[in-house]
């Protein structure tokens, strides 16, 4: 049978962000896959060397518009580690609150994108409608819907006042009530199962070999979650449960994420009732003593790694950002061959790619 090349991207309705897939297709089956990235490469790592630590706070939030708070948190933690500053307990808790709200919004966004890819526009609409409540909550606390600007080096800028806590509580309740729909979708909806079960299988071996992290890895049976394995900020006392399943297909990824939304809601609620008292931030100097720091945190898509080298000046000598999408992409390259052409969209959308993160 003759082979044709099916190019997807850089502009394609499946991709919210540009990347290019070149798929060799025989009939309705994919036989080879090439992935090209870099369309969003802005050179942020070098940009950050040319800006001061303070200016970089703006830059890191603009690496990715979906997990902006995760980037800011990782960056702040790295600089704080270099400074030897411990963040006040209240600040650590508010950071985690934003991390979890961001996880809720990111996972709902992903569910919507996946649903749209399998032609289920209603779920896309509903998921994004519930997502608004998480965005509203973050906006009311920090003033930013997408780029929150909640973090400071040394603490946080935004406080959860009692009246904001009440508003947050009602937003969480709304999301929780409507989450039942997505539970039903994952657990019972036949038409969803038909398009996701047994599709895009990723074995535990592949996950290990490519270093895949986050919900993608947890859907294939790897239980790695930085929040539990190397707790940071307030996770040392929060200890979220880690949902793990072994199917390794797109359905399992949906299952893991819907569970995680529930756990995130529980963490937020726990934080509202047991938010430590105290100051919001420590005063920190502009100059950072020479040293190196490696920080890992659990972004919505998995382990996010920041490496910062300082040289006793007011701007970093080297910042390295490794985002969870990169290993996912490498693994995706090996998952795509063998798929039906009709499943490409499901698998690519189901991988929760964030090109802005991956390309930097």
């Amino acid at each position: 049978m003759s082979q044709i090349t099916l190019p997807i991207g850089p502009q394609h309705p499946l991709l919210k962000e540009p990347m290019a897939l070149r798929l060799g297709v025989e009939g309705e089956r994919v036989v080879s896959a090439e992935v090209e990235i870099g369309y969003v490469h802005r050179g942020i790592e070098r940009l950050m060397q040319e800006r001061t630590y303070l200016q970089n706070m703006v830059v890191v939030e603009r690496i990715c518009g979906i997990c902006s708070h995760a980037h800011a948190t990782a960056y702040c933690q790295a600089v704080e580690a270099l400074l030897g500053v411990a963040v006040p307990a209240r600040a650590a808790a508010i950071r985690v609150l934003f991390c979890e709200l961001e996880r809720i919004h990111s996972h709902l966004l992903w569910l919507g994108v996946l649903a749209e890819a399998i032609g289920f526009t209603t779920i896309f609409m509903y998921a994004w409608r519930e997502r608004e409540h998480a965005l509203d909550a973050m906006e009311s606390i920090s003033g930013g819907r997408i780029a929150h600007g909640a973090n400071l080096i040394g603490g946080v800028r935004a406080d959860l006042t009692p009246d904001l806590a009440i508003a947050l509580g009602s937003a969480l309740r709304t999301i929780e009530e409507r989450l039942g729909l997505f539970d039903d979708l994952v657990e019972r909806d036949r038409s969803f199962h038909r398009r996701t079960q047994g599709i895009g299988l990723m074995t535990l071996d592949l996950v290990r070999a490519q270093g895949v992290v986050g919900p993608m890895a947890r859907a294939s049976g790897a239980s790695y979650d930085v929040r539990v394995d190397a707790p940071y900020a307030a996770y040392s006392w929060l200890r979220p449960p880690v949902p793990v399943t072994e199917e390794g297909d797109v359905w399992a990824r949906a299952w893991v994420r819907v569970r995680e939304i529930r756990h995130s809601l529980a963490i937020c609620r726990q934080l509202i009732v047991s938010l430590p008292e105290g100051p919001l931030a420590e005063r920190v100097p502009h100059r950072v003593p020479a040293g190196e720091a490696v920080i890992r945190i659990e972004a919505p898509r998995g382990e996010l790694l920041y490496y910062i080298q300082s040289d006793n000046s007011d701007s970093p000598a080297r910042v390295k950002v490794r985002t969870p999408t990169l290993p996912t992409l490498m693994a995706l390259k090996q998952v795509l061959p063998g798929l039906q052409t009709g499943d490409i969209a499901t698998v690519v959308a189901g991988a929760d790619l964030c090109m802005a993160c991956a390309d930097r």
């Binding site: 850089p10 369309y39 518009g65």
Partner: protein
């Protein structure tokens, strides 16, 4: 007369094509958000189209990375006249924080004629909707 009918129709049927030329994703999801229940841009006749051939408005986000240059020009060339380019977000307007990066051109207007600039980092869906409505009124 015919002219007025056509103008009436154009104002009410803007089909979008979205291209991210290297932005952070923030504006892109806010644009997509415009289609969802809270904002529902379909009221304005806005549809998000899959093919450049079907589109009237090219909504561009991002500061135009060097690698995005070619695809952007190609997409614009594929769109049938009359067509308009909208620069969505501060990056697309001027390059914003990425202005001087080695892989960035800085602003959609370096490449294409821009009909509307919508600043914001990222732009809220309300701002986008208002600017698009304004653009359509001015046609």
């Amino acid at each position: 007369m015919l002219d007025r009918v056509v103008r009436w129709a154009r104002k009410r049927s803007p089909w979008l094509l979205h291209y991210n030329s290297g932005g952070c994703n923030g504006c892109d999801i806010e644009l997509l958000d415009l289609l969802t229940p809270r904002y529902d841009a379909e009221q304005l006749g806005i549809l998000k189209e899959a093919s450049p051939r079907h589109a009237d408005l090219l909504i561009c986000t991002g500061p135009v990375t060097l690698k995005s240059r070619e695809p952007l020009l190609r997409i614009y060339a594929q769109m049938p006249e009359p067509k308009w380019v909208v620069a969505l977000g501060s990056c697309a307007c001027s390059g914003s924080v990425f202005r001087d990066c080695y892989h960035v051109m800085g602003g959609i207007d370096r490449l294409l004629p821009v009909a509307r600039y919508i600043p914001g980092c990222p732009c809220r869906p309300e701002a986008t909707a208002a600017a698009l409505k304004d653009l359509l009124e001015s046609l």
